[in-house]
């Protein structure tokens, strides 16, 4: 006999299955889902550590001035299992990168969390939480 799940409970289960929740903080505390942008620039560094990996990139602001960004990703165990290994980032240092970034809520500029990016090969890589709830078709640069 099949049992139909109540709608609310089903929603909770689906959310639980689809959205990562990190044990120590919530995305909405540190980052602003309503302040996201595309960045285009050059990959300059990778920090491969727990519980978040980070990458650095240089990108020009609206005034044409080069700015250095430090951007959070999800955990190394998740990244490597999507093919985005540390070596992939190392191989792309100094090469073009596009990143979808939600800015940090703190007063600091040039900090944020990346949800997806494209390295020189153009392939979309999921590296963060899908907080903007974009469809796969909407994930492009």
């Amino acid at each position: 006999m099949r049992v139909k799940l109540p709608g609310v409970l089903m929603a909770i289960l689906i959310i639980g299955a689809a959205v990562p929740v990190f044990a120590h903080h919530g995305f909405g505390v540190e980052f602003d889902v309503n302040n996201c942008m595309d960045l285009k620039g050059t990959l300059t560094g990778i920090t491969w550590e727990n519980p978040h990996a980070y990458f650095d990139m240089d990108a020009k602001d609206a005034d044409g001035n080069m700015q250095s960004w430090h951007l959070e990703m999800v955990t190394p165990n998740a990244l490597k299992r999507t093919g985005s290994t540390k070596q992939v980032f190392l191989d792309n240092i100094g090469k073009p990168i596009n990143a979808r970034v939600c800015l940090a809520k703190s007063s600091n500029q040039h900090r944020g969390a990346a949800s997806y990016l494209a390295l020189a090969d153009g392939q979309i890589r999921l590296v963060g939480q899908g907080v903007e709830r974009r469809s796969d078709e909407q994930k492009h640069f």
Partner: protein, 335 residues
């Protein structure tokens, strides 16, 4: 300062336990995954990662193309064969399992398109998960979200149930008279004697608790007591840290493990706590699937609060307070 010292001791202790257990694992487990043969050879041809066993780092794989790489399974796995058994006839639970039906890590950051019925722990058609029924007077003392910026240690049963939202693998290593359960997150180890011994008269309190296992037919029943009251029950009931709850010294956890076929592990947990709960919490049967990628490697995932110091520390106090009180629904529908 006391809290910091306690936390440091905890992590140092945990690191030691993990290291010791991994040493045991590498010594005794030539192929704990239950997967195909020849992986040791493959590993030796690869990048020369240390250790033995399945799922060693192999030759570099092609990078998945886009979100829907056909090489990544999106469907519920087939049974995969009969239940593996040990020489004594009991089911062999050994293997690395993911908290879903597709045999790989699935989250919003991994390639999508997974069948809804296979993307999580809950089995289609089974009774739904229910939330524990708390005594009204216990609400404030035992029910509160994990404080912001802290890392809840693992323990029983959280190290397993938290994978509802963390999506990481667990690895079971079974030998005659003993079962080890390792969790990639939060890097916890549980040692379970299955030789029929009873609980100690005065067991030491620990986060994993004192566990003893016994076979009931093809189901391993693990009975755990003496769980540290600082151990937070996460995804025991509704999912996520926002629904975490603590427990009393009288908590008693019964976990049931079965392996109906090679590819699947079924886990069910019952939590009794007459101080906190009106009645025992009885989970739905939760489905885990055997890792399918022979190149899948065990990975460290530790909560170390390495967030960018500026972004992390200069958080609006009001936002932090709202989060800790459960008033801040995170984007994307997170609890």
């Amino acid at each position: 300062m006391t809290a910091v010292t306690r936390e440091s001791r905890y992590w140092l202790g945990s690191a030691g336990v993990v290291l010791a257990a991994l040493c045991l694992f590498f010594i005794f487990a030539p192929d704990s995954s239950g997967q195909g043969q020849g992986q040791d050879q493959q590993a030796q041809q690869g990048r020369g990662q240390p250790g033995r066993g399945a799922q060693q780092e192999g030759p570099a794989k092609p990078i998945p193309k886009g979100f829907f790489d056909p090489g990544l399974n999106r469907h519920l796995l087939p049974p995969g064969g009969p239940t593996p058994r040990t020489a004594d006839g009991h089911p062999d639970l050994s293997g690395r399992y993911y908290p879903n039906g597709v045999g790989r890590m699935v989250g919003s950051y991994t390639p999508a398109g997974v069948d809804p019925d296979a993307s999580g722990l809950f089995i289609k058609g089974n009774p739904p998960q229910v939330n524990p029924v708390f005594r009204p007077e216990t609400k404030d003392k035992y029910q509160f979200p994990t404080p912001y910026g802290t890392c809840a240690p693992g323990g029983t049963p959280t190290s397993i149930t938290t994978q509802t939202t963390e999506h990481g693998p667990i690895e079971l290593v079974q030998r005659p008279g003993v079962l080890w359960i390792m969790d990639e997150f939060p890097q916890a180890i549980k040692w379970i004697p299955t030789d029929g011994r009873p609980h100690s008269k005065d067991p030491d309190v620990s986060f994993a608790g004192e566990a003893v296992g016994r076979w009931e037919g093809d189901t391993l029943v693990v009975d755990t007591v003496a769980i540290d009251t600082r151990m937070r029950n996460i995804s025991v009931g509704l999912s996520g840290d926002a629904n975490a709850w603590t427990h009393s010294e009288k908590e008693h956890v019964i976990e049931r493990f079965s392996r109906p076929s090679k590819n699947f592990l079924i886990y069910q947990v019952t939590v009794e706590d007459p101080v906190v709960l009106v009645k025992p919490f009885v989970s739905a049967p939760l489905r885990w699937s055997l890792a399918q990628d022979p190149n899948d490697t065990w990975t460290e995932y530790l909560c170390t609060a390495n967030e960018d110091s500026d972004a992390y520390q200069k958080i609006d106090p009001k936002i932090r307070e709202d989060y800790e009180k459960g008033k801040l629904p995170a984007p994307g529908g997170q609890p």
